[in-house]
C-alpha cells in the first residue's frame, strides 16, 4: 500500500482507533462497504493506474460465461440525461481464460474478488459454477448475474421467474460451498418474490439493482441509437429507482443487500446505507471518475469521524420513515 492508502487501514481496525467501516453480509466480511460493480471494473488492473484497488471492500469481476461471447453489434453506448444506455451483450473471454489469465493478476493487486458468472440456461450456470468451485479458496463469493436472458425460456430474464432463480441459486450453492450473491433486475414486478426465491435457494446476499431497460432513437435516421435496440440504463438517472428497490427489499428483511445504481459520491453511498443496504456497489461512476472508489471510502471514513459514529453499521437501515 502507498502511504496515502494506508491512512484508511485504521478504519478496519476498530480495536485501536474506534472507527469501523467493516460490514458483514452473511458470511461475507468486508473491510469497508464499497464494492466495484460487475462490468464496470474488469478485474481491477486498469484502475490500478489511478489508485490502489486493494483498498476496496471487494471487486466484482466482469460476468463470465462458459464459452467466450463476442457481444452485441455496435453502437453499444448511448448517453442520456444524467445516464447512459449500454448494450455490451455480456462480451467476455469465458470463465477458463479468467481462471488461467486474469485471476492471478487480480490476486497480485491484492483485490478481494467476487466472481460474477452467468449462463444462457440453468445447465450453463451449473457448468460455470463447477469451474468456479476449482478456485473457491481464491475468491470471497460468487455473484450470479440473473438479469441475462434464459434462452430455454424464450429469452425472458431469469430474475423475472422466481422458480428459476431458486433453482439456479440452489444448484450453484451446492456446487460452490462459498457465499453466493444473487444480482436481481429492477425490470420485473416480482422483485420481492425473486429475492425470497434466492434466499430459499441458499443465497447469502442480493445485489440490487442491475440496469433499467431503456432505449433511445436517432431522429435523423429513425434508427435506434443502440445496435441491439434496447439497452440497460445506468448512472445518476437511475439512483432514485435503485434506492426505492433497496428500501422496499431491505424492509422485508429477506437477505442483506448490496445497493447499487447511480452512486457517484460518498453522500450517494450513505443514502443507500441509510435506506438499508449493507454494502454499496459503484458502477458507472468508475467510467468517469477513475478513482471514485477511493474517494467514496475516504468520504465515508471522514463522515464517521466528523459525526463521531464509531461503526458504519450504526447508520445501516436507520431511515426514519
Amino acid at each position: 500500500m502507498t502511504k496515502q492508502d494506508s491512512l484508511f487501514s485504521y478504519e478496519t481496525d476498530t480495536g485501536r482507533n474506534g472507527f469501523s467501516l467493516s460490514v458483514r453480509l452473511g458470511r461475507i466480511k468486508l473491510d469497508n462497504p464499497v464494492i466495484a460493480c460487475s462490468g464496470t471494473f474488469a478485474y481491477g488492473l486498469e484502475y490500478s493506474q489511478f489508485y490502489n484497488t486493494a483498498i476496496l471492500g471487494a471487486v466484482t469481476t466482469k460476468s463470465y460465461s462458459l464459452k467466450p461471447i463476442e457481444g452485441n453489434p455496435p453502437p453499444r453506448i448511448c448517453e442520456t440525461a444524467s445516464g447512459m444506455l449500454n448494450s455490451i451483450g455480456l462480451q467476455n473471454d469465458g470463465i477458463d481464460i479468467f481462471i488461467k489469465k486474469y485471476l492471478h493478476e487480480a490476486e497480485k493487486l491484492g483485490i478481494k474478488i467476487i466472481l460474477s458468472i452467468f449462463g444462457q440456461d440453468p445447465e450453463e450456470f451449473r457448468k460455470v459454477a463447477s469451474r468456479a468451485a476449482d478456485i473457491k479458496e481464491r475468491i470471497i463469493a460468487v455473484e450470479l448475474n440473473l438479469s441475462c436472458p434464459n434462452v430455454k425460456k424464450g429469452g425472458m430474464a431469469f430474475s423475472a421467474m422466481p422458480d428459476e432463480v431458486e433453482k439456479i441459486v440452489s444448484s450453484t450453492v451446492s456446487i460452490l460451498n462459498i457465499p453466493v450473491i444473487a444480482k436481481l433486475s429492477p425490470n420485473h414486478q416480482n422483485l420481492v418474490e425473486a429475492a425470497m426465491a434466492a434466499k430459499k435457494g441458499g443465497a447469502e446476499a442480493l445485489s440490487v439493482i442491475n440496469t433499467v431497460v431503456g432505449m433511445a432513437v436517432d431522429i435523423e435516421t429513425f434508427r435506434p441509437r443502440l445496435g441491439n435496440v434496447l439497452g440497460g440504463l445506468s448512472g445518476p438517472a437511475v439512483k432514485p429507482i435503485a434506492l426505492a428497490k433497496v428500501y422496499s427489499l431491505t424492509r422485508e428483511k429477506i437477505l442483506p443487500v448490496i445497493g447499487m445504481g447511480g452512486i457517484f459520491s460518498w453522500q450517494d453511498a450513505l443514502e443507500f446505507l441509510v435506506a438499508g443496504a449493507s454494502a454499496v456497489g459503484i458502477g458507472t461512476a468508475n467510467f468517469i471518475q477513475y478513482d471514485v472508489g477511493k474517494k467514496i471510502i475516504e468520504g465515508l471514513g471522514n463522515y464517521l469521524k466528523e459525526k463521531k459514529i464509531y461503526d458504519i453499521n450504526d447508520v445501516i437501515g436507520r431511515l426514519r420513515a
Binding site: 486498469e46 455496435p74 453506448i77 448517453e79 444524467s82 448512472g235 445518476p236 467510467f287
Partner: protein
C-alpha cells in the same frame, strides 16, 4: 495514464463550430505520442450532465513549452460546454490514452487523408513525420470552408497538401477520396494514415483493396470508460477468412489496419 487538471492557455474559435484549445501539461507533453487521445470531463465539477467523458485526439504537442492542443467541433452539450471555457480555467481530463503511432518502421513517404474533424489526430503525425525528414503529403476534405483557419497550422508544417471542399468554397471542389483515386499513381510508395467519416474510410478501403500500401485508419466510436474496461467502443475486425472479432477502439486502437476493418 493519469487523471489530470490542466490550465487552459487558449480556447480559440476557428469558425462557428471549430475550436482549438491549448492546455498546459508537462505530463502529456512528456509521454504522449501521435494517435493518442485524452478523455475530457465536459461538465463543471460536481455536475453529472453530460455524464461521460469525451475523447479528443491530441492535435499538437509543443514539448518545449509543455503545451498540447486539441481541435474540436462543437456538436452537442459536452463540446458546447468546452467552447465556453476560457484562458485560465482548468480542464479535467485523463490521458494519454490509446496506442501511439510509431513512424520509425514506415516508408519515407507518408500520406495523411483526413475528412472533417478527422484531420485532428493526423496533424501531429504529419508534424512528427516531417521532423523525421520524411516526405509528407496531407490531403484534407471538408464540406465547406469552416476549417479554413486550420490551413494556417498546416502551413507551419511546411509540407505539401491539398484541400478539397464539397461546395468548392476552399481549395479544389470535390471529395478527398476522389482526389486520392485520381492521384493514386503519385502516392504509390506511401504509407497512409486516414481518419474521417465512415464513407470516406470505406471508399479508401476499396481503393487500396489490392494495392500494397500500408493503410492505417484511426477510428472513433462512442466511449464510456476510455480505458478498456467497458467494451462499449468496439469495432468489427476481420478474423481468419470469414470470421470477425470486436476490438476496443480505446485500448486496442484507435489505429487499425484499414484492410481488416469491417464496415457493416
Amino acid at each position: 495514464m493519469k487523471l489530470l487538471n490542466g490550465e487552459i492557455l487558449s480556447n480559440e474559435k476557428y469558425s462557428d463550430n471549430l475550436y482549438k484549445m491549448e492546455i498546459f501539461s508537462p505530463y502529456i507533453c512528456k509521454d504522449a505520442q501521435a494517435g493518442q487521445f485524452i478523455n475530457v470531463k465536459c461538465s463543471p465539477e460536481g455536475v453529472l450532465d453530460p455524464l461521460l467523458r469525451r475523447p479528443f485526439s491530441i492535435f499538437d504537442i509543443e514539448k518545449k513549452f509543455n503545451v498540447f492542443s486539441i481541435l474540436y467541433w462543437v456538436k452537442g452539450k459536452g463540446t458546447k460546454f468546452m467552447s465556453g471555457l476560457e484562458k485560465g480555467d482548468m480542464l479535467d481530463f485523463a490521458g494519454p490514452m490509446g496506442n501511439g503511432i510509431d513512424l520509425n518502421g514506415d516508408e519515407n513517404n507518408i500520406l495523411l487523408v483526413g475528412g472533417g474533424i478527422g484531420i485532428a489526430p493526423l496533424y501531429l503525425i504529419a508534424k512528427l513525420a516531417g521532423g523525421m525528414k520524411k516526405n509528407v503529403f496531407f490531403a484534407a476534405g471538408f464540406k465547406d470552408n469552416s476549417y479554413l483557419r486550420w490551413e494556417k497550422d498546416l502551413i507551419e508544417l511546411k509540407i505539401n497538401y491539398a484541400v478539397l471542399t464539397e461546395d468548392g468554397s476552399w481549395g479544389e471542389k470535390g471529395l478527398v477520396s476522389d482526389y486520392i483515386w485520381n492521384n493514386i499513381k503519385s502516392f504509390k510508395n506511401y504509407d497512409i494514415y486516414c481518419c474521417g467519416p465512415r464513407d470516406m474510410l470505406k471508399t479508401l478501403q476499396n481503393i487500396y483493396k489490392d494495392k500494397n500500401n500500408k493503410v492505417t485508419a484511426l477510428l472513433e466510436e462512442k466511449m464510456a470508460c476510455g480505458i478498456g474496461v467497458c467494451a462499449g467502443c468496439v469495432v468489427k475486425l476481420k478474423k481468419g477468412k470469414k470470421g470477425f472479432s470486436y476490438k476496443k477502439v480505446c485500448k486496442d486502437g484507435p489505429a487499425f489496419n484499414l484492410e481488416e476493418v469491417i464496415f457493416d
